[in-house]
């Protein structure tokens, strides 16, 4: 086995109930993962990028043994997913559910030493490790206060600290910068980079493409339980190298967007809400030739255009090219 994580054809289906009234409900089968295969090399920061409901968290829950996969196999840190589940949990540091995974009546330090005990560290080792992490993440001022008095960002930081308590060779971070303000998010990303430099492998899930671009050595783009694209960021962008991207911001109706999609030469058109407006992303082979027709079509549909910019290809564009949707779309099964 070469990779630190190797996943072969992993599937996960489960039953869910949909309420149909006061006493009625209907059972529904959800295919959360559809044959996911990938390998993560030691020492890399591997990004899982996809919209909400894409299957990122389900994949992480399977890899951390919280969920049993329906079929397929995986090896994590050399341990088999279903046969060696205790060893996997011992050798993975995981930040999942953010601030919800903390005991709010306890202090930050009490939380860390408690989880240290559950990773079987002896009392002196867990206190020492907690002190090290508190110092590294600059949590000294709040470490001895009850978590219920923390701000949302401070709770997220503590949840990240908790993931480091067992000093695991593999860190799995699920949307770690959610609810963090910009400076705190930057600081956390810097620590993740430092930890990676020290030899830790990191799986980093996000739905923010800029974060995936700056953080990750390689990225898997996931949607509706499937890996749509896998590679390093330049490779993924290069897969669209014949295409140009035009972004238009303003008031643009769904009908206008559909009309743009139908224009000859347009390979994809998708809208995202941005600052109370709509941003229309259009991909085309020849944007010079397309632009006049694009403006003409949008005008015909009474669109108000505030900004038109041809831009560089981003990971989000890769996602749009593969799915026809943006990362802001929620694809959770309702």
């Amino acid at each position: 086995m070469q990779g630190q994580v190797r996943i072969e054809n992993l599937t996960k289906t489960y039953h869910t109930r949909q309420r149909k009234g006061l006493f009625k409900s209907e059972e529904k089968l959800v295919e959360a993962l559809k044959g996911v295969s990938l390998e993560i090399k030691p020492g890399e920061i591997f990004g899982l990028l996809g919209p909400n409901g894409a299957g990122k968290t389900t994949l992480i829950k399977c890899l951390t043994t919280l969920l049993l996969p329906t079929s397929g196999e995986a090896w994590i840190n050399g341990y088999h997913l279903t046969r060696d589940d205790n060893q996997i949990r011992a050798t993975v540091g995981c930040m999942l559910m953010g601030e919800r995974g903390l005991y709010w009546k306890l202090t930050g330090r009490e939380n860390m030493t408690f989880f240290g005990a559950l990773y079987h560290l002896n009392p002196a080792a867990r206190r020492r490790r907690a002190d090290e992490i508190i110092e590294r993440l600059h949590l000294g001022d709040i470490a001895d206060r009850a978590v219920e008095t923390y701000s949302s960002g401070q709770k997220m930081k503590l949840a990240f600290a908790k993931a480091l308590i067992n000093d695991a060779p593999l860190l799995i971070l699920d949307e770690p910068t959610n609810t963090l303000d910009l400076p705190s998010a930057r600081e956390l990303r810097a620590v993740v980079h430092e930890l990676n430099q020290e030899g830790k492998t990191v799986i980093y899930t996000t739905h923010i493409m800029a974060e995936a671009e700056t953080m990750c050595d390689r990225v898997a783009i996931i949607d509706r339980g499937e890996v749509l694209a896998l590679g390093n960021v330049p490779e993924l962008k290069a897969s669209l190298n014949r295409e140009a991207v035009i972004r238009i911001e303003g008031v643009i109706s769904a009908k206008a967007s559909q009309a743009v999609q139908a224009l000859p030469g347009v390979s994809q058109a998708a809208t995202t809400p941005v600052n109370g407006h709509v941003q229309l992303t259009v991909m085309a082979q020849d944007h010079q030739a397309l632009l006049p027709r694009l403006i003409e079509t949008l005008t015909a549909y009474n669109a108000v255009m505030q900004k038109i910019t041809p831009e560089e290809v981003t990971l989000e564009d890769v996602f749009i090219a593969r799915t026809g949707r943006t990362l802001a779309d929620d694809t959770r099964v309702k």
Binding site: L66, T91, L96, M97, W104, T113, L121, K162, D167
Partner: protein, 283 residues
């Protein structure tokens, strides 16, 4: 620092006690609740006690002795209400532990660690037993002082032995109940139902000999019935079910050997089933 993939028995024990310590730390931040736990069993027992005095007057003790084997109805009722506190705590603490952690999100957090759910449940059971026993003993002493009866009559050590041996199968049954809560995700209604059924069957305020034969048989299938009668017989001499204390104790030992193993087996199956579907954190 190396990760520990094969913990020793001592390290597992330390993880279990960390769970106990966490619970004790947490409850220490709610002192009012602890005080209430000592007062409520006394209030609970005083209601039938005062009703008895109102209806039977000075003959209350004699009438009570004719049916129960002891005239000390004050201690009889206090023992019933305090053993009920222990039983109620066991069900609430185990079932509510799972449900509360599910709702707050910490259940997934602890399931991410290599400490087994059995170990964690044992930690919660130790905490619950410490809290329940402390409250029950203090409440019994206060109740005896308030109603002016001697709390240290009879064989106190034997009474304690019945409680300690009985606690293990009691938590075994509670753990079985926890498995049900994990699956159906409904703790309040289930625990309320269960605690009142058990409280009726164990005879908080009456000897189970007054129950109809079939219900008496069902009552004898629950460890709390044997704990209550064992304590009452040790302290008040109401009579063991099988005549001698060691026969009744042997029944509790049989429960002790069977109930935890059976519960753990059921819990493991439910846990696996839940993990194969929506996961332990879904609520």
């Amino acid at each position: 620092m190396a990760t520990i993939t094969h913990p020793t028995f001592g390290q597992k024990l330390s993880a279990m006690l960390a769970e106990t310590r966490l619970r004790l730390l947490n409850i220490s931040r709610y002192p009012g609740q602890l005080v209430l736990e000592i007062i409520i069993p006394v209030v609970f027992a005083s209601m039938p006690m005062l009703l008895g005095r109102a209806t039977a007057g000075a003959d209350a003790g004699a009438n009570f002795a004719a049916n129960t084997g002891t005239a000390n109805y004050v201690a009889f009722l206090l023992i019933g209400s305090n053993v009920f506190t222990l039983v109620s705590n066991a069900f609430w603490h185990i079932a509510y532990w799972l449900r509360f952690e599910q709702e707050t999100g910490t259940l997934e957090a602890i399931y991410l660690t290599p400490t087994s759910s059995l170990n964690l449940a044992a930690g919660v059971a130790v905490y619950s037993a410490i809290r329940g026993l402390t409250a029950a003993i203090l409440s019994y002493i206060i109740g005896c002082l308030v109603f002016q009866v001697n709390p240290l009559q009879g064989d106190v050590l034997l009474a304690l032995a019945f409680i300690f041996v009985g606690l293990i199968p009691l938590y075994g049954v509670a753990f079985l109940f926890g498995a049900l809560v994990l699956k159906v995700k409904e703790s309040n209604a289930l625990v309320s139902l269960m605690q009142w059924v058990v409280s009726f069957l164990m005879g908080i305020f009456f000897p189970i000999t007054v129950l109809p034969p079939f219900i008496r048989f069902v009552a004898l299938l629950f460890p709390p019935t044997w704990i209550t009668n064992g304590v009452r017989s040790s302290l008040l001499g109401v009579g063991f079910f099988f005549g001698q204390w060691y026969f009744d104790m042997a029944v509790l030992w049989a429960f002790l050997l069977f109930a935890p193993l059976f519960s753990f087996w059921v819990f493991n199956r439910v846990e696996r089933n839940v993990k194969a579907n929506e996961g332990v954190g879904e609520f």
